[in-house]
């Protein structure tokens, strides 16, 4: 007798119908597992094919795009030199060879423009930005900015930031306070880079902590963007209730060597938060504020360990040589290894004034203390 597919299905149905619960569950899961596995393979193959196709397109289009950008924009001798690069009417005809009606082509060209802008300076960068605008490539980023997906918005903000495209405060400020961490960080970076009014305005309103990761990018943008007016950061050190903003502003004060902000930092030495106090001590040390040394030494005994280490490091950085005895005392009598090491390092950094003390310590100390001193004096050992 011939068995047909419907017979097999009928058989499975009857097994399923009369089977106990465990077997019913097993049968359902077998179907799910087989289907899901087959689908997984199909998705994998599709993804590989798409990737292959994209790579093929990239290989084909990239040399064409690079040629166009170099020959028509960056090194084109026919572009008038007496006109502001942003006002030059570029010859867009050669770019018609590109399939710019396709999104992937526009995205690829935008990526190349950004790449070249990052690697050229002067008018060439402005010409590339001009091309980006004349080809309406900014419209894709504008659309992304209105997307429901936060990651698309982040992509748009990054593109605008890299292309120096102004965005209105009304659009960007709500994003700078978004609940999504990534979007919030990208919007703040874009705001500082692009806002022509008050780029640091969000420091006034930010309530959530500026994470160390976000600080890295903000620090880079603030310290490398040439056309933003750097304010006196004492304003936020004094009045901001956000500890991370205060801490970040101290790092900026150190970078820009803003001596006008020093009194605000000194006031932080009385702050109840010991992390903030340690940051303030570090900043004063890096700024080499000799006037604050007496105060630091006076505060020393009442501080927790890491603030004490920060004070010893600060005395080492300031190098006034006025507190060698204090450092010597700490080195000889402190019970904590890290304090003794920090004191020894500070003495060594004050070498010009502390030569006598170093010689004396080398001849009188023994055991671990001598080892610590030799460790700090050895130029091969950095830390």
């Amino acid at each position: 007798m011939e068995t047909t597919l419907s017979d097999i299905l009928q058989e499975i149905r009857s097994i399923y119908y009369y089977a106990p619960l465990a077997i019913k569950i097993a049968i359902i899961f077998i179907f799910i597992a087989v289907t899901a596995t087959v689908l997984a393979y199909l998705v994998m193959l599709r993804s590989r094919y798409r990737n292959f196709r994209q790579n093929r397109l990239l290989r084909k289009m990239l040399p064409i795009m690079d040629d166009l950008l170099i020959n028509e924009i960056i090194t084109n001798p026919n572009i008038p030199q007496d006109v502001v690069p942003s006002k030059v009417a570029l010859n867009l005809e050669p770019f018609d060879a590109l399939p710019l009606h396709r999104r992937w082509a526009r995205e690829m060209l935008t990526a190349r423009i950004i790449h070249y802008r990052n690697n050229v300076s002067g008018s060439a960068g402005d010409l590339l930005r001009n091309l980006y605008l004349q080809l309406d490539l900014d419209k894709d980023a504008m659309r992304k900015l209105k997307s429901r997906h936060w990651n698309r918005k982040v992509e748009a903000l990054t593109e605008f930031t890299l292309m120096d495209m102004p965005i209105s405060d009304v659009t960007i400020l709500p994003l700078a306070n978004s609940r999504n961490r990534e979007l919030r960080a990208a919007a703040r970076q874009a705001y500082i880079k692009l806002s022509k009014n008050e780029p640091f305005k969000f420091f006034d309103s930010v309530t959530d902590p500026l994470l160390p990761w976000d600080q890295v990018e903000l620090f880079r943008i603030i310290t490398t963007t040439t056309d933003i007016a750097i304010p006196n950061f004492a304003r936020w050190i004094t009045y901001s209730s956000n500890k991370s903003v205060v801490s970040f502003c101290m790092k900026l004060v150190v970078h820009f060597n803003q001596l006008a902000a020093v009194p605000a930092i000194i006031r932080l030495l009385e702050n109840r938060d010991h992390v903030l106090r340690a940051d303030a001590i570090e900043a004063l040390g890096r700024l080499k504020i000799a006037e604050v040394e007496d105060k630091l030494v006076h505060l020393y005994t009442s501080q927790p360990l890491f603030c004490q280490i920060a004070i010893l490091k600060a005395l080492g950085r300031i190098r006034s040589g006025r507190h060698i005895d204090f450092l010597r005392n700490e080195f000889l009598h402190s019970t904590d290894f890290d304090l003794r090491k920090a004191a020894a390092r500070a003495i060594v950094k004050n070498e010009v004034m502390a030569r006598g003390v170093i010689d004396e310590l080398l001849s009188t100390t023994t055991g671990e203390n001598l080892l610590i001193l030799k460790h700090c004096m050895n130029p091969l050992i950095k830390y």
């Binding site: 097994i15 089977a19 106990p20 465990a22 077997i23 569950i25 097993a26 049968i27 899961f29 077998i30 799910i32 597992a33 087989v34 899901a36 596995t37 997984a40 393979y41 998705v43 994998m44 193959l45 993804s47 590989r48 990737n51 936060w150 990651n151 982040v154 990054t158 961490r181 990534e182 959530d208 902590p209 994470l211 160390p212 990761w213 600080q215 890295v216 990018e217 620090f219 880079r220 790092k251 970078h255 290894f337 890290d338 090491k341 671990e368 080892l371 610590i372 030799k374 460790h375 700090c376 050895n378 091969l380 050992i381 950095k382 830390y383």
Partner: protein
């Protein structure tokens, strides 16, 4: 008597049913959470920010701890590989754990090293440190070599490295591992991105390096291993890291940061007592103690994983070495569960006590025992003619297809996210493995696990054994 047997049989049946169903659900949940975590990771990763960190004065310092015992064959290339890492502020602390070969002499000669008076603070007790060396060559100024008496364990060597480390974070790796150049940037990122919790440990995906190509310690071409045993391990690693660890990471319930590569908060490690040199699963044991320390001291902590492959390691290619490795791992797990039994289902330890430990106990520790008992019962029933064969085969097909599905998902997640392998053939060579794993590889794992438990119960003395490295394949040079 027969009714007792029936009751016991029914109890066994129902227990196994609930056990199996729970495991299936757990794997399903992990698969779902892992893809969410991977997507989140990919969306949040901007290469430009990593590049900003490379030049930033705000980057926290990291010490890389690499213990070495008789690694003379590859030690120079491996140190050179570590020196090429892309990070603004790091030091390499290489711990020569009393090697009997010429590792130390090679290092001294190659990197122009001299013994220095180093203030070594023994915060964690270790075997005596004989000497500490620094290079006279400025190009290697961030290299530190500790020469110590052999402690008969990786734990003792790493503890010496922790004592000498200069920075607040350290990366623990094996000197034979090859790291991605952005490893430090990637590993420090979760620490700097978490504002709510103190991130105490971060791990990343490891891969088997056996058939990949390397040039001067840098990975140039990633390939799945050609030999069967390492290829099984590759698939197992993908499932464990990309699907398992990422799923646990999404729940902040990561049970273990691999000894091959992990970044740790040095302060918490020291306060937790460092690595336990008596443990056979020292990496998992340390993480458990760190989590316990945080819970005891009300520190809001997190342990994170990242799905990107940052480390390649040579997988055991012979059954003998593989068996030794897996027996040790199983013994380590049994040791850990026994030593920290107070954590099990203890609400005081939060997720560690209520999720991580119960999962490890029921589905990692007990799994080989359950499987072994299942086989015995199966054989007994078959022998006595009490097997309903159609149902038994159906259940077997169910377990088989489900296992294939989960492993295929992990390969899929990996493929969709990273496209590591160049050709479809290479991907297909991996895709075949889930079909064979159930029949060839899994029984081996079960056997070695049971052997490990036996060694644990009988307190059998066992050594670390030599990994018998074959070295990595060099990239072909074009002339």
């Amino acid at each position: 008597m027969s009714s007792v047997q029936e009751i016991l049989g029914a109890f066994y049946d129902s227990s196994i049913f609930v056990y199996g169903l729970t495991l299936i659900i757990v794997y399903g949940v992990l698969a779902f959470l892992s893809i969410i975590a991977i997507r989140r990771y990919l969306n949040a990763t901007q290469q430009s920010q990593l590049e900003s960190l490379v030049t930033s004065p705000l980057a926290p310092g990291i010490s890389i701890l690499a213990p070495a015992y008789n690694e003379g064959l590859t030690i120079i290339a491996n140190v050179r590989s570590l020196l090429t890492l892309n990070y603004p502020k790091f030091e390499i602390v290489l711990i020569n754990d009393g090697s009997t070969d010429d590792s130390l002499e090679q290092l001294i000669q190659e990197f122009d090293m001299v013994a220095v008076d180093f203030a070594y603070n023994e915060k964690i007790r270790t075997k005596p440190v004989r000497n500490i060396y620094k290079s006279r060559n400025l190009a290697y100024s961030n290299l530190l070599v500790i020469d110590k008496a052999n402690g008969k364990s990786k734990a003792d060597a790493v503890n010496a490295g922790i004592n000498a480390a200069a920075f607040d974070y350290f990366v623990c790796t094996d000197v034979d591992c090859v790291l991605h150049k952005d490893t430090l940037l990637e590993l420090i990122k979760p620490v700097m991105q978490d504002g709510d919790r103190r991130v105490i440990a971060i791990g990343a995906t490891l891969r088997i390096a056996n058939s990949s190509e390397f040039d001067e310690g840098v990975m140039t071409r990633m390939r799945p291993p050609k030999a069967m045993l390492p290829r099984f391990q590759e698939v197992e690693y993908i499932r464990s890291f990309v699907l398992g660890k990422m799923g646990w990471s999404a729940m902040n319930c990561v049970p273990n940061v691999s000894g091959g590569l992990g970044l740790f908060d040095r302060e918490i490690v020291i306060k937790s007592g460092g690595y336990d040199h008596k443990s056979f699963g020292e990496d998992m044991e340390l993480l458990t103690r760190m989590c316990r320390y945080c819970e005891d001291n009300k520190i809001r902590y997190a342990v994170r994983y990242i799905p990107k492959t940052l480390c390649w390691t040579e997988g055991p290619a012979s059954l003998q070495v593989f068996g030794r490795q897996r027996t040790r791992w199983a013994r380590g797990l049994a040791q850990l569960m026994f030593a920290h039994r107070g954590v099990f289902l203890n609400p005081r330890y939060g997720r560690l006590g209520l999720v991580v430990f119960p999962y490890n106990f029921f589905f990692e520790l007990l799994a080989p025992l359950v499987e072994a008992s299942g086989v015995i019962v199966y054989l007994w029933l078959a022998f006595t003619g009490n097997v309903n064969w159609p149902y038994a085969i159906l259940l077997l097909i169910f377990v088989y297809t489900y296992a294939i599905m989960i492993t295929t998902f992990s390969i899929l997640w990996d493929q969709l996210s990273f496209h590591y392998y160049k050709t479809v053939k290479e991907v297909l060579s991996l895709c075949i493995m889930p079909f064979l794993e159930f029949l060839l590889y899994h029984p081996l794992i079960t056997f070695y696990s049971l052997k490990g438990y036996f060694f644990f119960l009988t307190n059998r003395r066992s050594s670390w054994g030599n990994m018998q490295r074959q070295g990595f394949k060099k990239a072909k040079t074009t002339t």
